[in-house]
């Protein structure tokens, strides 16, 4: 039998085929279909227009109003109302209204809704996040999602795979965010267009699930169709803690074919900062120069997890945010919110002069809760720094890890944790 990659194996299994090859068009069943308050209203319209009466499985259609929720204006409130009514009508088991709502790509794994080996499509480009669990997950538009809600199926072109091999010991304060920014810097924002990015190599065993979610999350920023990790012990423990089910573990065969294999030596990777206006503009922290900031945002589907908040708190502890800098912290889910509070992280954030928002995508996509004025500059743990992404078209977003973002908030300009006053007493983030 022909050797295959993990991506090819999952796609073949869902298409009812023994094997698939890159470029092949397949029709597959899906395990989960996801939409949010921006994309669901159109998907629901499509659902009815295409003759939909009942969703294919009320357990497998997930709706999360997270982008403009708590409702930022009347129009957003109307969109959420439509989702609420649809969920009631269709008896959806997984409609997460305010109170249960979290940033979708942090929420679904936490609720155990995605398992290894699953095939997930979502009307949100960062659906690729779930690849961290060894699942195939990819973003699509509302029309594709609306029809999949009826049929439980979709069509896909099997992607070629790019293998990314990480070796060596990480430098202090280097996180999954730094690895993915470095990788996008190397590949370019269309370097993996239409491809599967397979994250492998001995270094990754030491990286937490949170780090892996961050990396898979940003696969789309290199143009990829999906990002994926081979499940290991850490994956299995995570799945056990979040679900009663196990999923199905797939690995890539040793003879599997890749379009390209790239090796990265962690000994050479510093914390990274992606300059405006593309995620590929990654620079090592030592080469950033003087970049003063007006705002720092810690949150989003990329870096709003508990581990991210813990690192931010570790850096911020005993410090004050620089005068003139607004620090906004957004725990990604209600569970993370509460846990951060219990662990005393809120005290540290508030003591430092930051504010804590309820879970929402908010400022990441320029929705609300921290919009930038003309000429303002933000450092953020989010995923995109496109023109106008966080507000005014003449504002700027710099992407970085929670550690660098927190340190920069204190410094008033983008800088490393080591530059903080009294740094010697702090320990690096342990892997």
């Amino acid at each position: 039998m022909m050797s295959q990659t993990i991506t090819e194996k999952i796609l073949a299994a869902h298409a009812g085929l023994k094997k698939v090859r890159p470029g092949q068009l397949i029709e597959t069943r899906i395990d989960l279909a996801l939409a949010n308050d921006i994309t669901a209203p159109i998907a629901m319209e499509v659902f009815y227009l295409a003759g939909g009466k009942k969703v294919f499985d009320p357990k497998k259609v997930v709706l999360v109003p997270d982008h403009f929720v708590p409702n930022k204006d009347i129009a957003a409130a109307e969109q959420c109302r439509k989702m609420r009514l649809f969920s009631q009508e269709q008896n959806l088991l997984h409609f997460f209204d305010l109170g249960e709502m979290g940033v979708e790509h942090a929420l679904l794994p936490e609720k155990g809704l995605v398992l290894p080996g699953d095939l997930v499509i979502g009307a949100d480009s960062h659906t690729c996040t779930y690849g961290a669990l060894g699942a195939f997950a990819s973003g699509m538009g509302s029309t594709d999602l609306g029809t999949a809600m009826i049929t439980g199926r979709t069509w896909l072109k099997v992607p070629e795979s790019i293998k990314l091999v990480y070796q060596g010991k990480p430098k202090p304060w280097v996180s999954g965010k730094d690895l993915i920014l470095y990788t996008i810097g190397d590949l370019g924002v269309d370097g993996a267009r239409y491809q599967a990015m397979e994250f492998t190599g001995p270094s990754l065993a030491a990286f937490s699930m949170a780090d892996r979610f961050t990396m898979a999350n940003m696969a789309v920023e290199a143009g990829a169709k999906n990002g994926i990790f081979i499940p290991d012990d850490k994956t299995l423990i995570y799945v056990r803690e979040h679900s009663k089910k196990k999923g199905k573990i797939y690995c890539s065969d040793s003879g599997a074919e890749y379009r390209e294999i790239r090796h990265y030596n962690l000994g050479e990777i510093e914390p990274q900062v992606a300059f405006p206006h593309l995620p590929e503009n990654a620079r090592p922290i030592s080469k950033v120069g003087k970049v003063s900031i007006d705002q720092a945002v810690i949150g989003s589907c990329t870096n709003g997890r508990l581990e991210d908040l813990r690192i931010a708190a570790k850096v911020l502890k005993g410090h004050k945010v620089a005068k003139g800098v607004r620090l906004i912290i957004i725990p990604a889910t209600p569970w993370i919110y509460r846990q951060a509070m219990v662990e005393g992280l809120f005290d540290i954030f508030l003591e430092a002069g930051g504010v804590i928002s309820t879970p929402t995508c908010g400022p990441c996509l320029g929705g609300y809760m921290g919009i930038l004025a003309k000429g303002e500059r933000a450092i953020a743990t989010t995923n995109r720094n496109f023109v106008g992404r966080m507000g005014h078209p003449e504002s700027e977003v710099y992407l970085a890890s929670p550690a660098i973002t927190a340190a920069s908030a204190v410094l008033g300009s983008i800088g490393p944790v080591e530059a903080l006053p009294g740094f010697k007493k702090m320990k690096g983030c342990k892997k």
Binding site: P41, S125, T127, M140, T143, D144, D190, G367, F386, V387
Partner: protein, 174 residues
């Protein structure tokens, strides 16, 4: 159906945030979205563009978010089709599903100039720059997809096909 229009040029990596900023996404009304099309790349674009005009861009057009509002906004602004060196994956699918014709040609994207009068035949994939008097070749659009685009997108197309089937069924019963 051939497309004929004046060209508006854009660079590489024109992302969906630039095509339609998130601040307008609490609506999915095409007219409203069309009013803000490409506003952050060129605030006057919507004022300048005429019905039938063509966008010519560089690499990775439509990168970023999965928002279908992007092809909807482009269509609603009156743009007839987009030529680019390459398109981002999700945008490609969304454009076809929304009935916005798109053509990939590195040569055409590089050589066509802003303001040129360009004609495109989707059946042959031939792009004719009438100002430069040059021809370029893109992949033709297969007949079923042309039909889908003509109908105004995937859903309108499905509705038409289903309606036709139902009518035929009813006829047979009579």
């Amino acid at each position: 159906m051939k497309y004929l229009g004046r060209v508006w040029k854009f660079g590489d990596h024109i992302d969906t945030d630039v095509i339609i900023p998130a601040r307008y996404l609490s609506s999915s009304d095409p007219k409203e979205l069309g009013r803000h099309c490409l506003e952050d790349a060129d605030p006057d674009f919507v004022k300048k563009v005429n019905k039938g005009d063509i966008i010519v861009a560089g690499r990775n057009f439509g990168s970023g978010s999965s928002r279908e509002h992007a092809p909807i906004a482009i269509k609603a602004a009156g743009v007839s089709c987009v030529i680019a060196e390459s398109f981002a994956r999700i945008f490609y699918r969304n454009a076809i599903n929304m009935g916005l014709p798109i053509f990939e040609s590195v040569e055409a994207a590089k050589k066509i100039k802003e303001g040129d009068l360009v004609a495109i035949d989707p059946e042959t994939g031939v792009i004719e720059d009438q100002s430069l008097k040059k021809h370029f070749q893109a992949e033709p659009i297969p007949p079923f997809m042309q039909e889908l685009i003509k109908d105004g997108g995937l859903i309108a197309h499905i509705k038409k096909v289903q309606g036709k089937r139902l009518r035929e069924k009813a006829k047979r019963k009579k």
